[in-house]
């Protein structure tokens, strides 16, 4: 009975968290309307918020207990977890479902809210009123309550029982208390360490965009139009850093786990985060202009608000099911689209209301900024970022236009662009060129005080250096497109220009170097993206000359090669050999060849058929029971180029729910990555077609020709141990020793058993995967000393491999790191400014 109580408690906590968030919103609102800083409402509202926080932690704990203890009577545990799942992946189960990811988001808001209450004085009440209103909307998404009478369901609860979710299946008629023994498991693509840390980072990024938004609304509400920028700026920077890292982590996960062949796919789900990030970066730039020269306040307000609204819009896009077939990884529709739309529209309305009501009162500068001023160029940069964002969202929203038109009964057949990458890249590359030039140029304009002549004098040297470097790059690489050449030159210019500034700034005060470091990072990222994507090259070309259809010579995409097991194939300047399929085992550092073990059906156990070594050290003795991880199969592929040798293990999972899922293995060189994955494998064992058995009756020492290989029967031995068979003392077992001569020498020992007690004889056949042979020990004729064997042949083992070279990808990762370091430096500087002002009593 107490198991059921966990879910009931959980549901209760969801309801209390919803109610407390509404109470806290009201209380903070009242507190904000009171003139005195320490009013009774404040104390009350804090208590309400802390109760809300406690309830949220209660919800999180309840859900985790359900997953951790495998309470499969709950739909969430059953559909996202399984008995064999390690604890660290149980954390990923938590946010595999939509409800859990909402919960994660709510949780981060609680953490951020607590910090904001602690660090703020005058801002606390109006800020938290906005915050708690958002919390009310978010908790309503997981409340799962049906309004009686109206038959309207609000939210989708993570604590729903399996019985309630699919109560009409026959099992429940026979046994109403039926509980499944195992869950359906976590999506194998999410069983990756990046999936343990990527979602929390991304949702922290989402959550932090609320902070500058709340400051902005609070500023408009309390008529503190200028002051909100100071406390909001460090948070905006923090948000940009976290969201940026979150996006990159997602890209890195896709690169390592999926087989799209890249880190960025212009998938709607990716775009939906990229767009608010661009606008957030634009917002930060306008906030910085305002902090320095008191201009662009209105732009800062609009951009901060837009960032948050875009986060809500992206939530709507990815969770309402509207993307449908246009995205590979959108969530399924939980019937929350209406609720999500209301959430978006309410905040859109609130924002518009506050802007319009105060528009005339917001200070704005008279006259125009000079084109010799820094603010002018930063403003242009922010504009370019917004246009880049607009281009992406305009195309990503195509399914939304279609839905709207259909709602209006207008027939439409509009679909997303076919060549998405081209469509986006053709625009984004020009925006990137502009951003690179501006972020370099901006550094040569000091605030409000530069004259033309001086500018050209200082600009000449870095410009010359960048042109020289990019000319030499052009000379040594195959850069040919004008846009590519421009992007490289512009990126190098920004690296050089910001590098020069960095050297000057570090001498005086390293705390001010954030901007320069971040811009160097951006320059490197652009170079890395250009080379790794623009010059990514498929090297696994099919050179076998076999053509299936000659009708479409132009269409042939011959980018996959077939590798027979133990046959060497040429690929570009490599010699490739596929060595066979491998598996991982508990306590074993490498991969174990599948033929060396016998897998049992039970609990991921296997028996070693022979001693298993790793680097001359025996890990498992013949007959040992090993715990294996059967989900992943690794395909050992040896690469040889001159004296250089290395082995890659691209992996694949044959999953009952999702079919074959391949993940790449990557060889990292300093200047490029070699990325390869299997595209196809033979059908799994069960579906394998064997030839009809041929029988041979031979003596010891005889030779057979099997599948073009010579097989010699070296002897018959008594065996004390047969893997996978329990032999009692009375039973007898013999094995035949075959030696097979192919390119290498192989051994096979099929077994013949006499089980005295059960009065049966049995055979344990042996399969030699490399040769596609199966030998069964059929019969013993003791009088003539002859033995009968059955031999089946099958298709030899093979894999189909795709390999891609990605040049300069490391430059992208280094650039990302620098961008984050730069942002962190900026955060510390801006936060200490806020603290200084707060302690003076200004804020």
């Amino acid at each position: 009975m107490n198991k059921f109580a966990v879910g009931d408690f959980g549901h209760l906590f969801v309801i209390t968290s919803f109610i407390t968030s509404i109470i806290a919103t009201y209380a903070f609102f009242q507190s904000a309307q009171t003139k005195e800083l320490n009013n009774p409402w404040k104390k009350f509202s804090r208590i309400a918020f802390y109760l809300h926080g406690a309830s949220v932690i209660g919800v999180v704990s309840s859900l985790f207990i359900i997953i951790y203890n495998h309470h499969y009577e709950y739909h969430y545990a059953w559909s996202h977890s399984s008995n064999s799942l390690p604890v660290y992946y149980m954390i990923s189960c938590f946010w595999e479902g939509q409800e859990g990811s909402f919960l994660l988001w709510i949780f981060w808001h609680v953490v951020l809210g607590t910090i904001l209450i602690t660090v703020n004085r005058t801002w606390e009440a109006p800020l938290m009123a906005v915050f708690c209103l958002v919390q009310a909307f978010l908790t309503s998404m997981i409340i799962g309550v049906v309004i009686p009478g109206l038959d309207v369901k609000i939210g989708s609860s993570p604590f729903i029982l399996l019985k309630d979710f699919m109560g009409n299946i026959p099992v429940y008629k026979i046994n109403p208390d039926y509980i499944p023994e195992d869950g359906t498991g976590l999506n194998p693509l999410l069983q990756n360490y990046w999936m343990v840390i990527h979602p929390p980072t991304l949702f922290l990024g989402f959550a932090t965009t609320l902070v500058p938004f709340s400051y902005c609304i609070a500023g408009l509400w309390k008529q503190r139009f200028r002051e909100w920028i100071r406390p909001a700026l460090p948070w905006a920077l923090f948000s940009a850093a976290v969201l940026g890292v979150g996006i990159l982590m997602g890209g890195y996960w896709a690169y390592e786990t999926l087989n799209f062949g890249g880190y960025w796919n212009w998938d709607p789900v990716e775009n939906a985060v990229y767009v608010p990030w661009l606008v957030l970066v634009a917002a930060i730039h306008t906030m910085i202009i305002f902090r320095n020269s008191e201009v662009a306040l209105k732009s800062a307000i609009i951009l901060v608000i837009t960032t948050f609204l875009l986060i809500l819009y992206s939530t709507f896009l990815t969770r309402s099911g509207i993307l449908g077939s246009s995205s590979v990884h959108s969530f399924t529709d939980l019937g929350l689209s209406g609720q999500l739309l209301i959430y978006l529209l309410v905040f859109l309305f609130i924002s518009i209301y506050f802007c319009i009501a105060n528009w005339k009162k917001i200070p704005s500068s008279e006259g125009e900024a000079s084109i010799y001023s820094r603010e002018f160029w930063i403003f242009i940069g922010a504009t370019v970022l917004c246009l880049a964002a607009f281009q992406v969202i305009a195309t990503t929203s195509i399914p939304v236009y279609k839905a709207i038109l259909e709602k209006l009964n207008i027939e439409t057949n509009i679909a997303p662009p076919v060549k998405q990458e081209e469509h986006y890249s053709n625009w984004q590359i020009w925006f990137s060129i502009a951003i690179a030039i501006l972020s370099g140029l901006g550094q040569y304009f000091w605030w409000k005080k530069v004259d033309g002549q001086k500018l050209w004098n200082t600009l000449a040297i870095p410009l010359l250096i960048s042109l020289l470097i990019s000319a030499s790059i052009l000379f040594f690489t195959e850069l040919n497109k004008p846009s590519y050449i421009l992007l490289v030159t512009a990126s190098i210019f920004t690296i050089i220009a910001n590098g020069g500034i960095l050297i000057q700034v570090v001498k005086n005060n390293y705390k001010l170097s954030g901007g320069a470091v971040a811009h160097i990072g951006v320059g490197l990222m652009l170079v890395g993206i250009l080379f790794s994507s623009g010059y990514s090259k498929i090297i696994s070309l099919n050179t076998s000359g076999l053509l299936y259809s000659k009708e479409f010579p132009m269409e042939m995409n011959r980018d996959n090669i077939l590798l027979w097991r133990n046959d060497t194939e040429k690929m570009k300047d490599f010699d490739l050999t596929y060595k066979g399929s491998r598996i991982e085992a508990k306590g074993f550092p490498g991969y174990i060849p599948k033929e060396k073990i016998l897998q049992l059906d039970k609990d991921y156990q296997a028996i070693a058929k022979e001693d298993i070594y790793y680097k001359d050290e025996v890990y498992f003795k013949k007959g040992d029971t090993i715990t294996v991880y059967p989900e992943n199969t690794f395909y050992e592929v040896q690469f040889k180029r001159g004296d250089e040798n290395f082995t890659l293990y691209p992996r694949a999972q044959v999953n009952p729910q999702m079919g074959l899922i391949a993940s790449p293995d990557i060889k990292r060189f300093l200047t490029k990555d070699l990325y390869c994955h299997v595209s196809s494998i033979p059908a799994p064992d069960a579906e394998r077609k064997w030839s009809k058995a041929e029988e041979y009756t031979i003596k010891v020492g005889d030779t057979l020709y099997l599948n073009d290989y010579i097989a010699i029967l070296d002897g018959i031995k008594k065996a004390n141990f047969i893997p996978g068979v329990k032999l009692s003392r009375e039973d007898a077992a013999v094995t035949a020793d075959f030696r097979l001569l192919g390119k290498e020498e192989y051994h096979a020992s099929p077994a013949y058993l006499v089980m005295v007690k059960d009065k049966i004889v049995g055979q344990v056949p042996e399969t030699i995967e490399d040769l596609g042979l199966k030998i069964t020990f059929l019969h013993i004729n003791p009088t003539e000393g002859k033995f009968t064997f059955a031999v089946n042949t099958t298709q030899k083992d093979y894999i189909i491999l795709k390999a891609i070279e990605k040049p300069m990808i490391n430059v992208l990762w280094i650039g990302t790191l620098l961008l984050v370091i730069g942002l962190v430096l900026a955060i510390t500087r801006r936060y200490s400014e806020f603290i200084k002002m707060r302690d003076k009593g200004v804020e």
Partner: protein
């Protein structure tokens, strides 16, 4: 003219350019019939066709051809579009990984030499994320 006006005009011009290119690059959802009509008119634009895989009603087997030993980059199958019209589709890539499981598929491509050649295949698998079926055979009672 003030500088801000020039900037505004440039912004508007870029925004219009973005909208035009979005509209221009946007593809369309069509039926097989329309796709073939387009090809006969010489229109080479790629289109989206939504449909289902053709299954043998008795065996439940799909009508498809993939023999990686002969050519790993040739895959063909029969698809039935929303107007119940069926056509073979050719895909010059290995067979997509969870192809058999997909319930609804979208092929993106165009008709060439009187055959529909797919450039991309988008699959909607019923089991992909949440809608998993509870198999009673695989579970026992507690």
């Amino acid at each position: 003219m003030k500088k801000s006006h020039i900037i505004l005009i440039v912004i508007i011009a870029v925004a219009i350019g973005v909208i035009i290119s979005t509209a221009g690059d946007a593809s369309t959802y069509v039926s097989f019939k329309e796709a073939y009509e387009m090809a006969s008119k010489g229109d080479k634009d790629m289109v989206h066709v939504v449909g289902q895989l053709k299954k043998d009603p008795s065996t439940g087997k799909l009508e498809m051809q993939y023999d990686p030993i002969i050519d790993p980059n040739y895959f063909s199958f029969v698809m039935v579009d929303t107007n119940k019209e069926e056509h073979p589709v050719i895909y010059f890539h290995p067979k997509p990984q969870d192809f058999e499981k997909s319930e609804k598929i979208v092929v993106v491509g165009s008709v060439k030499n009187n055959e529909f050649v797919a450039d991309q295949i988008l699959m909607k698998c019923p089991s992909k994320y949440e809608e998993k079926e509870l198999k009673t055979s695989a579970v026992s009672e507690r």
